[in-house]
Symmetry: C2
Amino acid sequence: MSSVNAPEHASRMKSEDRRELILEAATAVFGEFGYVGATTDQVARAAGVSQPYVVRMFGSKEKLFLEVLDRAHDRLLSTFRAVLAAPEPDVSISTQLGRAYVDLLADRGLLLSLMQAFVLGSDPAIGARARRGFLAMYEMLRDEAKFEPVEISQFLAGGMLINTLVGMRMSDEFESNPLATELLTTALPEKLDCLLDIGRAPSSVAP
Amino acid sequence: MSSVNAPEHASRMKSEDRRELILEAATAVFGEFGYVGATTDQVARAAGVSQPYVVRMFGSKEKLFLEVLDRAHDRLLSTFRAVLAAPEPDVSISTQLGRAYVDLLADRGLLLSLMQAFVLGSDPAIGARARRGFLAMYEMLRDEAKFEPVEISQFLAGGMLINTLVGMRMSDEFESNPLATELLTTALPEKLDCLLDIGRAPSSVAP
DNA sequence: GTCTATAGGATGATAGAC
DNA sequence: GTCTATCATCCTATAGAC
């Protein structure tokens, strides 16, 4: 058994810890550059390990990305389940889930990685995984949140609009472009301030 | 001056015609594989020309993609303007624009290419172009369609949900997966049949 | 205007030392 | 468990013939 406080060598840690570290780095890198655009070397640098190590630990770039996706889906669903398990009184579930969703943007890369998978539907492995995750979300909204069809539709649509605006970095122009300011203000009522905080946060991905 | 009906050589046509041909091919290819994932060689094959010719005509892969984006934005805006210029009576503008939007899916790759640009916000050139196009759409909905803020928000959100479902090829599972059937039915009321037609159409991009 | 040939650079993956 | 070295592949872009 190994101590968390005094690992024998800083450069030598349990496989599970490294794994988690790399998955976090990969989430940020894939979110920023996309599945094809990101390189295993970028992931390795962000995680502080060597490029071959990343490939060796996950088998391939594709398998790494699939794990990133699974992790993101798990986080998303468990976050929503936490809200449903302990809802605030006097606030609609839809609003609470919406807030929880925007809060997830703090995890730079998480929702962006999902978004990246959404445009890869024609890839056999990745497309299938993306659809599975999206359908799981639908099922949760229907069965656990007890949403009506219209609510589901509106909730998903709102989420995709947020994803899109974040994906295209619209908040970058919030201050410089009045039109962008107006769009963000009208399209994302009450979710704006959080989104802008995220936008100002330093990117965790080195250039 | 050259005749449209009798080009001297089938393999030799006016620059403008080839240009249009390549842009159409590029739209399909970029939509299917994304900006990074698509290769200039795939575009060339789809257009029936050589790979260096594609690069030479547009300067670079990036410039080609930017032209694809501009074309797509133009098509989108002019389609909407056509609806606004001759609206059907007794049908809300929002509904008519929504229908026009879904009809655009028939142009395989057009909306998908836009979607691909949405996830490339961190790319300086492409991100800027994507934001500009999105903002132009916002401006049109506000000034020409005279939408209220809520209408704009809902309209854009609905569009992004459609993009996402199309991007991840959810309609591929329409028949095999009951959950997918239900999701598509509830999330896209009255737009479904058109979307499924598109899904069944043969891909214009060779494997 | 269009092609063939190819240079030049990057990247995913493997082999093997420590 | 982790790294260095390196291979093989692929892809954009250029050069130059026709």
